[in-house]
Symmetry: C2
DNA sequence: CAAAATACGTTATATTGTAACAATTATGAA
DNA sequence: TTCATAATTGTTACAATATAACGTATTTTG
């Protein structure tokens, strides 16, 4: 998996994500329409979360007739339902899922400076959360784990 | 600490929270004005998160001249700055902090059915998050950990 | 007291997200 | 194919959450 903090040919990230999405949707009989695919591509345009209205603006730049909010939100809903993107509630923004084919609870490290959000997977986090919830008799249905701070690239850099 | 899922005299929760807030603010030289205290009291009116506009409505019911959004948001900002309340970004809502005098990362169990949100603290969660971030070279500044599901009270109850 | 800082009031507006219904397109059975 | 149905998208209007900007009042400090 590509490290989002290092320079890399990001077209590969996009192409891989689109390819995997097509494959997953085909398997599930879900219709990844051109609009939905376009929105997914825009979400993947960087490793930073993007807002719904930014996606809307990008769509507007591309098409002659500009789309309306429900169009974008519906596409985002579809993509979330099928695990292709995640919503970061602390930012009201969306980001591509780095491993949509595996069932997982998402956990993000969000850099305050460069805005890269890395999805991490660490069994110990899942385990400790599950333990803790279980000890309270709480049944987890969904989780939102978002850690904000400084990524390895930015933690050393002097604040300007 | 009172268990929010069990029936209890909630006035005690409110009074304790207000008392501790007064004491903490006094120590820090922070001004817990009547307005800020009133908002804190409204946040503590239950163990469920409350939205800013619900607080606004409550204020409107109580005072003759109804307050405006900035008034409420400023009070909420103050209360957050001093660790007296937390914001649950997955709900766009606010809840009283159960242990404002201790430095901590908040972690919430939010019941989808009864809407009670319990703040939990478990060293193993903090440890695993810190470990995980550290292994990536990421410096955590703030965390938002919100687990949604069914609380012990509701997990057994039949869905109506 | 006067000056400065802080808090609050007020108006307007930005940002994010949905409800409702119409038009279109894809799907699948007859 | 052809019609009926379901799914998707378009469109309008609006709800819900949050903030900018500026003026007024209050508190603090010298
Ligand atoms: Zn990339
Ligand atoms: Zn960074
Ligand atoms: Zn209580
Ligand atoms: Zn419950």
């Amino acid at each position: 998996m590509t490290n989002p903090y290092h320079p890399h040919n990001h077209r590969h990230c996009i192409e891989d994500a689109l390819q995997e999405a097509r494959s997953l949707c085909k398997d599930k009989g879900a219709r990844l329409t051109p609009l939905r695919e376009k929105v997914l591509e825009l979400v993947w345009q960087s490793h930073s979360p993007i807002g719904a209205y930014d996606i809307l603006a990008e769509l507007g730049r591309l098409e002659e007739r500009s789309a309306q909010p429900p169009t974008v939100y519906r596409a985002l809903d579809f993509l979330m339902e099928h695990g292709l993107i995640h919503r970061l509630s602390s930012l009201n923004a969306f980001i591509g899922c780095s491993h949509p084919s595996e069932q997982h609870n998402s956990c993000f490290l969000i850099c305050e400076k460069c805005h890269v959000a890395q999805e991490i997977e660490h069994p110990s986090i899942d385990a400790s959360l599950k333990d803790c919830a279980q000890s309270q008799g709480f049944k987890i249905i969904d989780s939102s784990i978002e850690l904000t701070g400084l990524c390895p690239n930015c933690v050393g850099a002097n604040q300007e």
